[in-house]
């Protein structure tokens, strides 16, 4: 709790800076928003009127404070292109992206942890080299390439899964999972390789500690040593990287949602950028960056729960 209080000002500061950076990033984009909305060839008076209505004549800083103020109350404005509230648009598509990201991370972890444990306990063996080699190759495959070849194999050739489309979980859980599996897999592969590589190195390190030797000497079975004694101290950097890699997962989601035509936040962002829907872009970027900072803040807190040294040094 004390830890939480001490870190809170830092969190607030980061979020403020992130919001300011988002605002500047989008405000500096070329093109007058008023002209973008009305289209070229409209009378200057009409553009001036719209600028006044949108408050574009006011100084940048005032506009930022105004935007931030309403953002804090959950109001990110209304998209001038679609007429939709930005917050509503994000919330409507959020479940897809969250489900995709969570599935990807869960898939990656369920395969990465046992594989890393296998690799580490037989370090240097043929098995270890094969697993590491496959992981190495996986890291050289971009997400979109993985997506295309998963579509080729499982959708076009075998026809087991649909290549595009989305059915909400509430409508039909089974159909939903069928639709989500290929996109989640293509996101998971790179993460899997990354997690596995990291955990393997850490595990090999941990397995050389004295208390592991002691456990071995006591006659504890190898799998029990791995799961009970080695995994926990080795999982810290994995946890950190899972948090930090969230940015990678979101970036991947933008591409994967576009390929599989999923109605997620990533696709919304990409299409808003193409349409120069600045208010929407601003809102989504702020939303994503805030989520990223908050998740990593939570990871930081989890760290202290997992590691007594951090907790008591607090």
């Amino acid at each position: 709790m004390k830890l939480l209080l001490r870190k809170l000002p830092w969190l607030v500061g980061t979020l403020l800076a992130v919001s300011f950076f988002t605002f500047m990033l989008v405000s500096l984009l070329p093109g007058d928003p008023a002209v973008l909305i009305l289209g070229a060839g409209v009378s200057p008076e009409a553009i001036a009127a719209l600028r006044l209505e949108m408050g574009l004549d006011r100084p940048l800083l005032i506009r930022y404070l105004d935007w931030l103020g309403s953002a804090l109350t959950g109001d990110l404005g209304r998209s001038p292109m679609t007429g939709q509230l930005v917050m509503d648009a994000i919330l409507a598509r959020l479940p897809v992206t969250v489900q995709l990201g969570l599935m990807a991370i869960v898939i990656a972890l369920t395969f990465a942890i046992p594989l890393a444990m296998l690799s580490a306990s037989f370090a240097g063996s043929k098995l270890d080299r094969t697993i590491s080699g496959i992981g190495f190759a996986l890291m050289s495959v971009p997400g979109f390439m993985m997506a295309i070849f998963l579509i080729l194999i499982f959708a076009v050739t075998l026809g087991w899964f649909p290549a595009t489309g989305w059915i909400p979980f509430s409508v039909s859980p089974l159909a939903n999972l069928r639709n989500a599996l290929l996109p989640a897999l293509s996101l998971a592969m790179i993460e899997l390789a990354l997690y596995m590589r990291l955990l393997r190195t850490d595990l090999i390190d941990t397995l050389q500690q004295d208390y592991i030797t002691l456990a071995r000497a006591k006659g504890m079975p190898a799998w029990r040593i791995l799961t009970r004694h080695a995994l926990r101290p080795s999982s810290f950097s994995l946890l950190t990287v899972v948090g930090l890699q969230l940015g990678g997962v979101i970036s991947g989601a933008i591409i994967v949602e576009e390929i599989f035509a999923l109605p997620g936040v990533g696709r919304l962002l990409y299409q808003s950028i193409l349409q120069r829907d600045l208010l929407m872009v601003q809102g989504i970027v702020l939303f994503i960056a805030t989520a990223y900072v908050l998740v990593n803040f939570l990871v930081d807190l989890c760290y202290s729960l997992l590691d007594p040294r951090v907790r008591y040094a607090g």
């Binding site: 950076f21 070329p30 979101i250 591409i255 576009e258 970027v285 990223y292």
Partner: protein, 295 residues
């Protein structure tokens, strides 16, 4: 007691050859050299694309449309009947140019910032780290899309945008290494002798920081190629008609059901290139690390 043999005198060339062998000759294995050869081929194609005896990568021959490999075209033709082999070679240029420029930009700017932060510490370091943390809070593709919208889609603009993404990573690597170098005795000795700050930074710190930073460069280049191709896949990299590998894969996606080779061939090419970069980079890094620990 055996008579001590007179040590063989080696010429300078022999010495050099042995040094080379020590660095490169031992234990790299054939895989490493295969990767190096592949990278050299890609670099060669990128450099001499205009003079190589290949077809025009932009010339659509409708009769060849979607023809498979080893038919009218060596590696087949794409959906518009353009020669895939020629497009691969010209596409290599984009990957190589962006790979080199982006990594150099990240390396130079990030490296300089990191060294300065690690050496002077204080407010500058804290401020820099805070700014880097904020940049890292934005997913790379989001940042990249915004940057590209801002500075355009020329080859140079894309390189700058991707290079910008690498500044935080390089600044971190350089800072961490500077922090450990500054503690060493030879830096203290230089300070005690009254060397100027600039001299210490350039003569003592830089040479010791630059090796790990460069070793990171090849792996970074592999990632840059992936990033560029992702951008090209979304249609936001260097504009058509310039062929890019990512753009070719994106185009091949439309013909997945009928003509797999249109997507497969550029994918395999790119995969091999990135894999080679990762492999060579990884080997060189571990080799340099070993050398460092021996010192």
């Amino acid at each position: 007691m055996p008579v001590k043999k007179h040590p063989k005198i080696e010429s300078r060339a022999q010495n050099f050859a042995r040094a080379l062998q020590q660095v490169f000759g031992r234990g790299f294995g054939p895989g490493f050299w295969l990767a190096v050869v592949w990278l050299l081929i890609v670099a060669f194609c990128a450099l001499f694309a205009d003079w190589l005896p290949v077809r025009d990568p932009l010339d659509p021959v409708i009769a060849n449309r979607l023809n498979g490999p080893f038919s009218t075209n060596v590696l087949g033709a794409d959906g518009l009947g353009r020669d895939i082999f020629a497009r691969l070679i010209h596409g290599a240029r984009v990957s190589v140019v962006i790979g080199l420029t982006a990594v150099s930009i990240g390396m130079i700017i990030g490296g300089a910032l990191g060294i300065i932060a690690g050496y002077f510490r204080g407010h500058f370091e804290r401020g820099l780290m805070a700014v880097l943390d904020i940049i890292l809070a934005f997913p790379w593709l989001v940042l990249l899309l915004a940057l590209v919208a801002f500075i355009g889609q020329s080859l140079f603009a894309i390189s700058v945008a991707i290079g910008f993404l690498w500044i935080p990573a390089y600044a971190r690597v350089a800072r961490a290494n500077t922090l450990s170098v500054v503690q060493r005795e030879y830096v203290l000795a230089a300070k005690a002798m009254g060397a100027s700050t600039t001299r210490i930074l350039i003569k003592e710190v830089l040479p010791n920081v630059i090796l790990p930073v460069i070793a990171y460069g090849l792996v970074a280049m592999g990632l840059v190629i992936i990033v560029e191709s992702a951008l090209a896949f979304l249609g936001l990299s260097v504009e058509a008609p310039q062929p890019t590998w990512g753009g070719m894969i994106s185009e091949g996606k439309r013909h997945l059901a009928t003509a797999v080779h249109v997507a497969l061939i550029p994918s395999v090419t790119m995969f091999l290139t990135v894999l080679s970069l990762n492999f060579v980079g990884d080997r060189l890094r571990s080799r340099f690390d070993v050398k460092e620990s021996n010192l």
